[in-house]
C-alpha cells in the first residue's frame, strides 16, 4: 500500500510564513525540537497548556501557530 501523500501547507509561525508537511501541531513542534510539555501553544486562537496532547490538533493551510516557552525564574 503506497504511503499517504503529505500536502504542503503554509502557516504563520511565530510571526513569519513557513511551509510544512507536518499534519499536526505536535508533529510540527517535534520537527523543530520544541518540547510541548514546556510551552504554551496557540493555534488559530485556541490555547493549549504545557503538556496538552497536540497530536490530534490538525495543521491547516493559512493557520497561525505560536508558542511561548515556560522556563524557571521568579
Amino acid at each position: 500500500m503506497p504511503a499517504e501523500e503529505k500536502t504542503m501547507k503554509s502557516i504563520m509561525w511565530q510571526g513569519a510564513m513557513v511551509e510544512t508537511e507536518a499534519e499536526s501541531v505536535a508533529a510540527f513542534l517535534e520537527e523543530r525540537k520544541i518540547d510541548a510539555a514546556t510551552a504554551v501553544v496557540e493555534w488559530n486562537g485556541d490555547v493549549f497548556a504545557p503538556g496538552d496532547d497536540l497530536s490530534g490538533v490538525a495543521l491547516s493551510d493559512g493557520g497561525t501557530l505560536s508558542v511561548f516557552k515556560i522556563v524557571a525564574g521568579g
Binding site: 504554551v40 486562537g45 490555547v47 505560536s66 511561548f68 516557552k69 515556560i70 522556563v71 525564574g73 521568579g74
Partner: protein
Amino acid sequence: MTNTYLTEKERGVLSAARVGVAGAGGLGSNAAAHLVRAGVRRIVMADFDAVSESNLNRQFYFRDQIGRPKVEALAENLRRIEPDLELASHCVRLDETNMPAIFAGCDVVIEAFDKAESKTAFLRADFGGIPRVCASGIAGWGRSAAIGVRRFGRTLWIVGDGESDINRGLAPQSARVGIAAAMQANVALSLLLGAEP
C-alpha cells in the same frame, strides 16, 4: 494612602477589585507592592515558603524578616504602604488542584512562581476563565527590551522573553525580575481599568 493621580472612579474600580498572587517571591512580592501602591486593596496571596537570606537580592522583604512565612511578612510590608487592606494569606504549597479554589472570585491572578513545574501547574489549572498573567524568561541582566507581553487567547498574558532560564545558569536578579513583576502588575491594572495590556 490615596493614589491622588487617579480619578475617583478609577480608585473605586481598583479598591473593589480582588487580585490573586500565586507565589510571594521575586515576582509576587514586588507585583503585590505595585498593585497596592496603585490602589488595589483586596489581594489573595499564597506561598508555602519562608523568607531566606538568598531572597533579599530581589524580593520585597527585609533582613529582620528572615525565617518568617513569606505571606505573613509580605502582608506586614504591604500594610506599611496601606494599612487598610483586605488580605487573604494562604501559607500553602500551590498545585494544579488547589489553585482554582484558592483564587476563586479573583478578577485577575498573577502567576509568580520560580520553578517551571509550578508555572506549568498554574497554566494547566482550570481557573474558569479568570484572566491570568504569567511570567517566563526573566533571569539574568541586560536585554531589558527583550521582556515583552504576549497575549494568548482571551484570558492569558505572559510577560518575559521565554528564554532566560535560571536553570541555564542565569541568576535571578532584582532589576530584571523587578521589570517583569512591574509589567505583570501593569497588565493586571490595565485589565482592571480597561486599557491595552
